[in-house]
Amino acid sequence: MRDRNYDELRELLTRFTDSSDAGSTERDIRAGDSLFDMHPAPQAAPETLATIKRRISVRLGMPRRHTHPLYRYVGAAAAVIAMALIGFFGRSAPEQPRVSYASLIPAAIWDSDDLVSDDAELAYFRSELRHIETQMQALEAGDGELVAAGSLDEVELELIRIDTQFWKE
């Protein structure tokens, strides 16, 4: 603990406690801090720090790849062609149900090298999808009990959660 923190502590203690308590409170806090000095936490392994640095280098390299002018031109050309095809073929096509697509695999899994942990994450992810699929099928089949139990709201909440929190994990 740095000295300046103790200087600040002393000043605060005189502000928040009377002078007789200030001394004993400071001693308690210093004694508590010394427990951490006597029982240091394990150190981060050098390999861990090296892996993080490598991942940072890779991450810093990624945007540059995407912003290469060639990619921009190819992307723009592909978009123009796609729009033209949609305009040409899509005009007389019957209206299709609207489907929202999302990135199916959380980005963290692509970045990770930890196969064991990723397998568990993917198993969990698959179970989430299966559960939602089951709920959607029940709703489509007009399962009155499920709808009455407020499952429509539950499915909606589930999708919102997946779209926000789940992908961060």
Partner: protein, 179 residues
């Protein structure tokens, strides 16, 4: 620890996407942030993951750092990452337990506590007996080396409250260690 001017130079380098500057930040703050995560989780592998997530988040967010105490900013991200992790675990546990029959998973696999120490460590054991909020405060103060004012601001609580919680918490921890 480098001087303020050196740190400013390193952070400017980070903002311009210099991997070497990020590597210096990892060397400067990695050990303390790892200690912070380890004392909150008691799990080395998990601390590795959280540390990695912290620095990847740093890469993402460095452009939004507008000056002020860098340590305070960094540990605020670290604290958010830890709490996000806790929320994720709670939700995951709840979901898995709720669908145990459907998934044919054994509950014990999902219910593994984050706070299981991976080796005998008396301080870790006694820390885990404190309430989560006090533990968070004590560990944050020790590893971040932030001032009380910065810590109280970060936790959005009055200075006197943070001070009194810390005092009670450290006193209790000492009693547990001596008991």
């Amino acid at each position: 620890m480098g001087t303020g001017a050196e740190l400013t130079q390193i952070i400017d380098g980070c903002k311009s996407g210099d991997a070497e500057c990020f590597a210096q930040v990892v060397d400067l703050y990695g050990p303390r942030c790892y200690g912070y995560f380890y004392r909150l989780t008691g799990d080395r592998d998990l601390s590795d993951e959280l540390l990695s997530e912290l620095f990847m988040k740093l890469v993402e967010k460095i452009a939004s750092y507008k000056g002020g105490s860098f340590e305070s900013w960094l540990f605020r991200i670290a604290s958010n990452i830890f709490h996000d992790h806790l929320r994720g675990r709670k939700r995951q546990k709840k979901l898995v337990e709720g669908r145990r029959a459907e998934l044919e998973l054994r509950p014990v696999e999902a219910a593994q506590s984050d706070l299981t120490p991976d080796k005998a460590d008396r301080l870790q054991t006694q820390l885990s007996r404190l309430d989560a909020d006090t533990r968070d405060l004590i560990v944050l103060r020790y590893y971040s080396e932030l001032s009380f004012k910065e810590i109280a601001e970060m936790r959005s609580e009055p200075l006197g409250t943070a001070l009194s919680k810390l005092h009670r918490g450290l006193k209790k921890l000492r009693e547990l260690m001596e008991g």
